[in-house]
């Protein structure tokens, strides 16, 4: 054979061998199907996929971002079909009872142990007192309430928080620190203008700054379903009201009376009256606002205060999107010091409480790549990230997870604008959750629709909550938490007629 021919043959053989090697490598990689919410923070996670694949060369990610309206349906379809198309699934935190209760997702404890992390269930300082499940799950690097609210189902760990969220009080520092405003406020209300710590002060401040159409005291929402129910309970919990007699725990399988609705308690009605009254200090139309519209008002300088999820700070502090960037302060939600002392378990009169929102990741029980799926879960929850990797993730716009030390990295924007310290305090002491039932989505629609009806004046607060209680009773019967032959009664065994606990 001529040397040239030999060269050509050698080259062809070399290319073929190379292709074979690459194909072998690709085939040797495990493909992990991931479904994530179509949200800014998750774009960042997707964009960091190459770094993950560099760290774990045997894993190839196949990330699918899906809109909120479709994600639950897609996930349920995959669970029902049992295909295991998605190995790692991101879920809104109230879906845990639905997913874990039906056996759709895998227990993560074996993986935690395999990773050498010390998971304990003998944690003594329960989170927040009175609302813990038994046992409380403890992982040294994680915020205990967040980990348990997101992942604890029946005392076992099923989910890891990867995009938690909680509402904060956003306020305009430029208005609150203005000397003329301070003097005028003190003259009108007889006490100094400060960031409100009680709902009474909050109402006064909001009223003071309401100067339509240019400025309103507050922007918030009573939009149908999710918006109305979460915002209303952020008020109602301070009043000592809750939706179901079992409060923040789980339905009682032994006594259906504890699963009865109590949303129409006098405390609940009083809280709803207050919530509806806030309409007078808010821009017109908030009765139908979505989350983004609340932020639009605030960013446009149209409101002195806003109650909003923590992850909207990204938009508020972006000068390209916001007129109030750099002028905004963050605080805890107000409380009600004169609330009855013995009301909802764990409520301390005077403290503010907010609904825990945000998303967690779970492992599909039908996943065929559990080992690789776990590696991604460790990454996406920051649990197995190094501190420098996490810092980098937060710097480029990633979101904080349930990992404690992430809230103390001083170089990150969240820390600089004062978001992280407030957010961490909310997570540690001030979060509440929606009922831990599989039918949580329906609960939001039932109570959220009735709250909205009261807010827009279609019903009185009492009528709206009575109707909500009737519908919640039917839901609890449908869900099997209350037997069919058990009539709707006030759970006097557990809750006093005024709503206080026995």
């Amino acid at each position: 054979m001529l040397p040239e021919k030999r060269k050509v043959v050698g080259l062809v053989l070399g290319v073929m061998a190379g292709l074979l090697l690459i194909s072998g490598m690709v085939l040797a990689q495990t493909r992990v199907g991931v479904i994530l919410l179509d949200a800014g923070a998750m774009f960042v996670l997707r964009d960091m996929a190459p770094e993950f694949e560099k760290r774990y060369p045997d894993v190839k990610l196949n990330i699918e971002l899906t809109a909120f309206a479709d994600i639950h349906t897609k996930e349920m379809n995959d669970f029902i079909a049992g295909t295991g198309r998605y190995d790692v699934i991101q879920m809104d935190n109230p879906w845990l009872p639905e997913f874990a209760g039906a056996g759709f997702i895998a227990n993560l404890e074996p993986w935690i142990k395999k990773a050498g992390l010390n998971l304990r269930k003998d944690y003594i300082n329960k989170w927040p007192p009175g609302v813990e499940t038994d046992p409380t799950i403890y992982l040294e690097s994680m915020i205990v309430p967040v980990l348990n609210f997101y992942g604890n189902w029946g005392g076992e760990l099923y989910a890891l928080p990867n995009m938690p969220g909680v509402q904060l009080l956003y306020y305009r520092k430029d208005l609150f620190e203005n000397e003329t405003e301070k003097a005028n406020f003190a003259a009108k209300y007889g006490y100094p203008l400060e960031v409100p710590t009680t709902w009474k002060q909050f109402r006064d401040v909001a009223e003071f700054f309401t100067r339509p159409p240019g400025l309103y005291g507050l922007t918030w929402s009573a939009g149908k379903g999710n918006m109305a129910v979460q915002n209303y309970y952020n008020v109602a919990w301070s009043w000592g009201a809750d939706c179901l007699a079992f409060g923040q725990g789980f339905p009682n399988p032994d006594d259906p009376i504890q699963n009865m609705p109590i949303c129409n308690s006098p405390m609940g009605v009083a809280a709803l009256e207050y919530f509806c009254d806030l309409a007078s200090v808010m821009p017109p139309g908030v009765g139908a606002y979505e989350w983004a519209e609340i932020t639009s008002d605030f960013n446009d300088g149209r409101a002195a205060m806003m109650l909003q999820w923590s992850d909207f700070i990204r938009d508020v502090e972006d000068p390209a999107k916001s007129k109030v960037a750099g002028k905004t302060g963050y605080a805890l939600l107000p409380g009600k010091p004169d609330a009855p002392a013995n009301n909802v378990p764990g409520i301390i009169p005077g403290e503010g409480y907010a609904s825990l929102g945000g998303w967690a990741i779970v492992m599909n029980k039908d996943s065929k790549n559990k080992e690789a799926a776990w590696k991604f879960m460790g990454w996406a929850s920051c649990l197995l990230m190094t501190t420098s990797e996490m810092e980098n993730y937060l710097q480029v716009g990633g979101t904080n997870t349930g990992r404690k030390d992430a809230y103390f990295i001083p170089t990150t924007t969240g820390y600089k604008v004062g978001r992280y310290p407030i957010e961490l305090e909310m997570y540690r002491e001030h979060i509440r959750r929606r009922p831990a039932i599989a039918e949580e989505t329906e609960y939001e629609m039932i109570v959220g629709t009735e709250v909205q009806k009261a807010f827009i004046g279609e019903k009185t607060p009492k009528q709206a909550l009575d109707d909500a209680a009737e519908q919640m009773y039917q839901l609890m019967v449908r869900g099997g938490y209350i037997p069919k032959d058990q009539k709707l009664v006030w759970p006097a065994k557990y809750v006093n007629p005024d709503g206080t606990l026995r």
Binding site: G285, A288, T449
Partner: protein, 300 residues
Amino acid sequence: MKKRKVFYIHKLTPYFMILPAVIVLILIAIYPMVFSFWVSLHRWYLGRPHLFPFIGLENYYTLIFKDSVFRRAFLNTLVLVGVCIPVEFALGTMLAVLLNRDDIKGKKIFRVCLIMPVVITPVVAGVLWKFQFHPFYGIINYFISLVGGKGIQWLADPRFALPSIMIVDIWQWTPFMFLVLYAGLLSLSKEPFEAAKIDGASEWQLLKHLTIPLLIPIIVVVLLIRTMDIIKVFDTVYVLTRGGPGDATEVLTLYNFRVGLNYFYMGRAATISWIIAIFVILLAQLFFRILGTEFYKKRT
């Protein structure tokens, strides 16, 4: 014997020929319909998919007699049909007759402008109108303020929310009515009209005694299509109000979506689908009875 075999094969050939189509029809239409009816007779919650108890007509009974949201959704859907279809038809007919006149100039520009709303995806139309209805940034309240009026909370006030949905639907689908009726007008023979004009018929007489009777087959079809469409309206309502405020804009398909794909009560969702189907069939029959009589008489 051989002759007999050939005879049978020959006789059965047509059946073999249509067999693939029949199989496809069974798989994609008949089986799902029968299955969905079967599901409607059961309590089936996908959160506990293994439980599938037979409950007879309980789902139908509960929805019709005990579910106030369903009843409101049904009523709202009826109101949408009752308001939007006549308005769209009246406007569509007026536009079609107007543009069919020979003395109108710039017809092409009008036609293009009128077609535009139809080609917009309903979701996009919903988003666009959500901005128009915004209390601060919307153009509608801006114009109201120019004449000294007070802004309206279009989507947050139960008195205006359903009319807002109607406005969007009429804006988007009147052009469809216009297009079909205009095409029908263009296809009509000119001779009867010329003869009637020679006999001294007025414009109104032409419209009443010639144009509309001749267009009846087209009118029946376009009304039927639009009625079925509006009963299925989902995207616009979902984007604009999500059925709110309260239950003010709850419609059948949105409620069905929520029950089936948000709450995963498949039995109840299948029942709603069947109620919608029966409702559409009855309405279609009604149309044919009222409007189609003349058409059928002519045909027969």
